[in-house]
């Protein structure tokens, strides 16, 4: 696009600068909620198990939990700046290694869920808006409300029962069949991309086949938002002044609806994607649990179950950072598409 790059550059710089205080606030929230509330991670991780007070004190001192909170807070921020998210108490793994190892599966699932929601939500929303108050419109709105309100694990279990157990169309759980992907080298740490990289199409299809049910489950959680927003946008756009003006110039009705209606109605979808990222990641925790999908969400629940609060804090910190960065990227993409955003 041959736009005034000066103003675009300025906008991006401003948006990046704005992300820094957002990150700071989020990190502070994570620290306060996870560190201050449950005492300290060491005694928490011991749970009900018998551990001598000396042993606990020794571990606490080693981990630095005996120092004042404000010092710990400073350390925490300094670590995050170096992308050091701590070391798991339960598995002794670096949390950053866990992220590298499991993050790919979550990216795959979240992307699959988003693609499913967009592929279903946009056409349904556009048709519902174009043929407002038709039977299709009423059905689409109802569908959006129900899928939004239905809990992820209920939808997931129903999908498993019907399409995996009963019909056998899709596998019940996991990201691949067992052992099939063991010899794929981890290039990007996203299995499906790594498989494409080495031209192992059997694995690619296997992952896609495993992905469909969980992605649909996750996608249904947010598809209602897209349907509703696209529908309302289109109705408003088609009533708008420039649409009427286009008709007054004798533009063909098909072009009016598609070029002036659809295109303009879809611009805010990008913003909404940004707003849905948090819901998408939250939903993927439950979806991963339901479908035994080997991602960060499932890992997070395992860390929670073993009261590994250091690892939980590391993962939550990382997820918070991801949400901020994605919403920033979305705003920048938005500015590229809609010239008005930059002013």
């Amino acid at each position: 696009m041959s736009m005034k790059s000066g103003s675009l550059g300025r906008y991006i710089a401003m948006r990046v600068a704005l992300a820094i205080p957002m990150i700071f606030v989020l990190l502070t929230l994570v620290f306060v909620m996870l560190r201050v509330a449950p005492g300290d991670p060491i005694s928490a991780s011991s749970g009900g198990a018998k551990m001598s007070q000396e042993k606990i004190d020794e571990l606490r001192a080693a981990a630095g939990y005996d120092r004042p909170l404000i010092v710990q807070y400073g350390d925490y921020l300094a670590d995050v700046v170096r992308f050091d998210f701590g070391t798991s108490v339960s598995t002794n793994q670096q949390v950053s290694d866990v992220i590298l190892e499991k993050g790919g599966a979550t990216v795959t699932l979240a992307t699959g869920g988003l693609v499913f929601a967009l592929l279903l939500g946009i056409p349904v929303g556009l048709l519902a808006g174009r043929f407002r108050d038709s039977a299709f419109d009423v059905f689409a709105r109802l569908f959006g409300i129900i899928t939004y309100a239905a809990p992820v694990f209920v939808v997931g279990l129903l999908a498993q029962q019907l399409f995996a157990t009963k019909l056998g169309w899709f596998p019940l759980e996991g990201e691949t069949d067992p052992l099939i992907a063991n010899d794929i080298p981890a290039t990007t740490h996203i299995l499906i991309l790594d498989a494409i990289w080495v031209n192992d199409w059997e694995v690619v299809w296997n992952v896609l086949w495993h992905l469909i049910l969980p992605a649909a489950t996750l996608g249904l959680l947010i598809v209602g938002v897209f349907i509703r927003m696209v529908r309302v946008n289109l109705i408003q756009t088609l009533r708008g002044d420039y649409v009427e003006a286009a008709r007054a110039r004798g533009i063909r009705e098909r072009d009016v609806v598609v070029k002036h209606g659809f295109r303009n109605a879809l611009v805010p979808v990008i913003t909404v994607i940004g707003l849905q990222v948090a819901l998408l990641l939250g939903g993927s925790v439950l979806t991963e649990k339901t479908f035994n999908w080997p991602g960060l969400g499932k890992q997070l629940i395992e860390f929670l179950n073993s009261r590994d609060y250091v690892a939980v804090q590391g993962l939550v910190t990382f997820i918070a950072l991801v949400v901020v960065v994605i919403s920033m990227l979305i705003d920048i993409i938005n500015a590229l598409i809609d010239p008005r955003v930059r002013y």
Binding site: S2, G240, D241, Y242, E244, A245, A246, R247, A248, R249, G250, I251, R252, E253, D255, K259, H260, R263, N264, V267, D338, P339, R340, Y343
Partner: protein
């Protein structure tokens, strides 16, 4: 330039004066437009007849809500889904009221144009000015090359004082006055024979207003475009219009040569409207007492009778006829036709009778 032909047959008895020799581009006969509403059908335009000739500007004035925009849109077939149209609009040998949506769409642009009141929101914010022109020209003139489109668009823009360097800009990079000039260029690039300008300057400041009015005046001189100029501003009508039509509650109550109507308003509503206009010479602020009628339930007889200072008994009972006055203007009122009314009917209407007639 496309001019209407075959419209001669529609100039029926008494329509137009003997001075108007050229055939009208567009001739409306007994045009009616209703909107559906919860309170019943709203007759926003209720039996309107007028002609517009090539190069002529017809000013359309009247209080807010009297149906001016509805009339302008009805002629171009641009009404919302709930509206119904009846009557006749002769243009190029066709009755526009009978045309299909597709046929009307093809006429809009190359034959019929519309300029709106609010220029700020009338351009698609995601499309460059160039894309607006490309879309319009390509839709109606499929075999133009990209270069020809560019040349024609830049010519039209230059005529409106928009430099070629702004061709690739987005709408938000222009001021309101510039956007209105772009809208006008966009309407005129296809050289329509008939254009409705619906309060084209109401949203703009006075200097820009003068500029736009000048542009519209040049337009009819240079291209022989017939223009219906809807406005609240009687000053603009006096300055820019050849003829004027005064609307009240869905009717045209007086129409004729603009100078004649202004110098010598015949209809009580026109007189009241002129008196209510603020000018340097007026001392007090005049206004027309009462408010315009509810068009879902208009008063019987003459629609102006509840507010007319000269109302007679007959006015509350029967709708007045349209008559051609000796000065060439057309007037819809009982006053100039005493021989059509009885002595009793000519008695001044009492206030009590108004309320009785209203309830009837």
């Amino acid at each position: 330039m496309t001019t209407a032909n075959g419209t001669d047959s529609t100039t029926r008895t008494g329509s137009g004066t003997s001075r108007d020799t050229t055939a009208p581009v567009l001739a409306a006969r007994d045009l009616r437009v209703w909107y559906g509403s919860e309170r019943g059908p709203v007759a926003a335009v209720d039996g309107v007849t007028f002609d517009v000739r090539p190069g002529e500007t017809l000013g359309l004035v009247g209080e807010s809500g009297c149906g001016k925009s509805t009339l302008g849109r009805g002629v171009l077939g641009l009404l919302p889904p709930g509206a119904a149209v009846d009557g006749e609009v002769r243009f190029a040998g066709k009755n526009l009221v009978d045309l299909s949506a597709r046929q009307l769409q093809q006429l809009r642009g190359p034959e019929l144009g519309l300029i709106f009141q609010e220029p700020m929101t009338r351009l698609n914010p995601l499309m460059r000015v160039s894309e607006h022109f490309e879309e319009a020209l390509r839709t109606h003139n499929g075999d133009l090359t990209k270069d020809e489109i560019r040349t024609r668009a830049l010519d039209a823009l230059r005529g409106m004082g928009i430099p070629a360097s702004r061709y690739e800009s987005f709408p938000h990079e222009f001021s309101g006055g510039m956007r209105q000039r772009i809208m006008i260029a966009l309407a005129l690039v296809l050289r329509p024979a008939f254009v409705v300008a619906d309060e084209p300057t109401t949203a703009l400041d006075v200097l820009v207003e003068a500029q736009i009015i000048q542009i519209l005046a040049d337009l009819r001189r240079n291209f022989d475009t017939a223009l219906v100029l809807i406005t609240h501003n009687l000053g603009i009508v006096a300055e820019a219009c050849d003829r004027v039509a005064v609307m009240y509650a869905g009717h045209i109550v007086e129409q004729g040569d603009a100078r004649e109507v202004f110098a010598n308003p015949q209809h009580p509503y026109t007189q009241a409207l002129m008196r209510s206009t603020i000018s340097l010479s007026t001392t007090g602020l005049h206004y027309i007492p009462g408010s315009p009628p509810d068009l879902a339930h208009p008063p019987a007889g003459c629609r102006f009778h509840p507010r007319c200072p000269k109302a007679m008994k007959v006015c509350a009972q029967e709708a007045p006829p349209e008559v051609l006055l000796p000065n060439g203007t057309r007037n819809t009122c009982w006053l100039p036709v005493p021989d059509m009314t009885t002595a009793d009917g000519r008695r001044p209407l009492e206030v009590e009778e108004i309320s009785v007639a209203d309830e009837a």
